[in-house]
């Protein structure tokens, strides 16, 4: 572990969150899930590092277990 950046990077985190929310607004659950799938792939490729991706997946899985 250690390559994934979890410290906040956006100068305006609220705006970043909002832009994702707004992309989903008005979509059916189905269309929304499709959008997320494409977004995951686009962002994963942008990262381009299998270790970081694995850490990101682990973090996402761990968050689900806690909730």
């Amino acid at each position: 572990m250690g390559k994934l950046i979890t410290a906040s990077q956006f100068p305006d985190p609220d705006a970043a969150y909002r832009s994702v929310i707004e992309a989903h607004r008005g979509l059916s659950a189905e269309a929304s899930a499709d959008l997320d799938a494409r977004l995951v792939l686009v962002l994963a490729n942008h990262i381009g590092d299998a270790d970081v991706l694995a850490e990101a997946i682990a973090l996402a899985q761990a968050s689900s277990e806690q909730s």
Partner: protein, 539 residues
């Protein structure tokens, strides 16, 4: 090769062979043979031919008396063609087959991805040919009758075996009743439903996929280009995948995904099949040659060697057809095994050399299963979430290069690079495309008198040293053949130099299966000797 007698029900005979009584059938307790191969499919035939080329006599048993029944492979990869060429049938098969290199992948009716296998210049064999499996088997059976040392027995079905420390006892059923054989080494090339495997009671580890696929060969005079075409969700076969690929004689392979719930009986009814094909092909004239329904397995035995029984091909491991990794990997199993078994039988290597067959071909099987599972998961996603991600890749493919590289309609067979104890690690760096543990790359090389040819056809199936001329003639061990590049063979194109990253004095040790096992920047007889001992398992 003569044209086959293909009947209207092509699951039946293409070529028929006669049962003949063998002298062994009159030997009460059973005659003894060094090697018996069970199964005269492509893999068993290659094993027998390769062993015979190394002067090991082989009895080859097949439970049928014909070629042509059952499922059929069509795509033969470059490495397989190189092996077939060494065994004397490669050129005729390439001439008979359809050489191809282009692929197209569609989503609906939109082209999302095209590929060109872009074969490098200066290789004797093409990247791929398509050819009906019965032509390959016929060529190999013909070759068996041309060479010495193979006793091919049709209608000989293994029905029992007993494992001993020093041999395997076989019971074999024939039309004239059973007989017995004792065999030092038994090679099981008897396919996915291996009788030998069942008699020993060995189990597979891996996956069976739920989706069913319709596979059909159709005869059709069409002017389509020679391109492997694959569709996800095509208009003519909604929600599923489809594949179309050319074979010789105006035969086309069509593969239609039917989903997990398809009714196998219903889907094989000719009217039903014709209706599906009609949607794909429109009003074009075509005839149905062969139809089958498949479910795919990606699985293997834990070990390929069990005492004196050795599993090769589908009896050892199975993959889905997307990627052409079935017959191709089986032929490479046979090649890997043949020289090792021959060395053991001649007393040149310890029996423990067979462990390297298990390791090296186990690596290849894992590699093939990984790729084949990935392709099958992409083509037939196992859950709604997997389907969503698959469709996300296809949706992004026209817009983004990264997604095109994720589109997976089959990753085509290439040789696995062995990480093997037989290989001597590099002491000095080498660039170029030659890799330790991989088949040496081919390159054009002329003889001294100027006649053209290729490296791989000059390699005779023995341990060979390729030595790059520096004006000396190295003093080599007696049993090693040395070829001096620049004297015995001339690298006029410079492709050998580029692919092997040569300098004057560079020395390459090639195994009998044409894999690179050691290389040095200068020739030293004791190092070559040690590398050869290592490659023979004499550590």
């Amino acid at each position: 090769m003569a044209d086959p007698d293909i009947r209207k029900d092509p699951r039946k005979v293409v070529y028929r062979y006669a049962y003949r009584r063998a002298a062994d059938q009159d030997v009460g307790r059973g005659a003894r043979h060094p090697v018996v191969v069970v199964g005269a499919g492509p893999v068993g035939l290659v094993a027998a031919l390769d062993l015979a080329s190394r002067h090991i006599p082989v009895v080859l048993l097949d439970d049928a008396d014909r070629i042509g029944e059952g499922s059929r492979g069509i795509c033969y990869a470059k490495r397989t063609l190189e092996i077939l060429d060494r065994l004397g049938v490669g050129e005729a098969l390439v001439a008979r087959g359809v050489t191809w290199k282009l692929g197209e992948v569609y989503l609906g009716d939109t082209l999302v991805y095209g590929f060109d296998l872009l074969p490098e210049d200066g290789h004797k064999m093409p990247a791929f040919i398509n050819l009906q499996q019965y032509y390959l088997e016929k060529a190999l059976v013909d070759r068996v009758s041309e060479v010495n040392g193979i006793d091919l027995r049709w209608n000989n079905r293994v029905s029992g075996l007993t494992l001993h420390d020093d041999c395997v006892e076989l019971t074999i059923e024939t039309p004239e009743g059973p007989y017995h054989l004792q065999v030092e080494w038994l090679i099981a090339a008897d396919g996915a439903r291996s009788t030998v495997r069942e008699l020993i009671g060995l189990k597979f580890r891996g996956l069976t996929f739920e989706d069913k696929f319709l596979i059909a060969d159709i005869r059709m005079a069409a002017d389509f280009a020679t391109v492997r075409r694959f569709w996800f969700d095509p208009p003519f076969h909604s929600g599923q995948s489809a594949l179309m690929h050319r074979q010789p004689d105006n035969i086309w392979r069509v593969d239609l995904q039917l989903g997990p719930d398809a009714d196998v009986e219903e889907e094989q009814r000719p009217e039903r099949v014709l209706q599906r094909l009609r949607r794909m092909l429109g009003e074009r004239d075509f005839e149905l040659e062969w139809v089958s329904i498949y479910r795919f397995n990606c699985r293997r035995l834990d070990g390929f060697v069990h005492g004196r029984v050795i599993f090769i091909g589908d009896s050892a491991h199975q993959v889905s057809p997307f990627g052409a990794r079935g017959a191709n990997s089986g032929v490479q199993d046979a090649e890997n095994l043949a020289w090792k078994l021959a060395a053991i039988l001649r007393g040149e290597a310890p029996a423990t050399l067979l462990e390297s067959y298990d390791v090296e071909r186990g690596q290849a099987a894992d590699d093939n299963i990984l790729h084949s599972t990935g392709s099958t998961d992409f083509i037939a996603p196992r859950s709604a979430a997997e389907r969503r991600l698959r469709n996300a890749v296809l949706g992004l493919a026209p817009k983004a290069e990264f997604a095109r590289r994720m589109v997976n309609s089959g990753r085509l067979s290439t040789p696995t690079i062995y990480h093997s104890a037989l290989t001597t690690p590099d002491a000095a760096p080498f660039a170029g495309s030659a890799r330790l543990g991989a088949p040496v790359p081919d390159a054009p090389l002329e003889t001294r008198d100027g006649s053209p040819g290729y490296l791989l056809e000059r390699l005779g199936g023995l341990f060979e040293v390729l030595y790059v001329s520096d004006g000396r003639r190295p003093n080599t061990p007696e049993d090693v053949k040395v070829t001096v590049i620049g004297e015995d063979l001339i690298d006029r194109t410079g492709l050998f130099a580029a692919r092997f990253d040569t300098r004057p004095g560079s020395t390459y040790l090639v195994r009998p299966d044409q894999h690179l096992t050691a290389r040095f920047r200068s020739f030293e007889g004791d190092k070559v000797r040690a590398a050869m001992d290592r490659a023979l398992g004499k550590q």
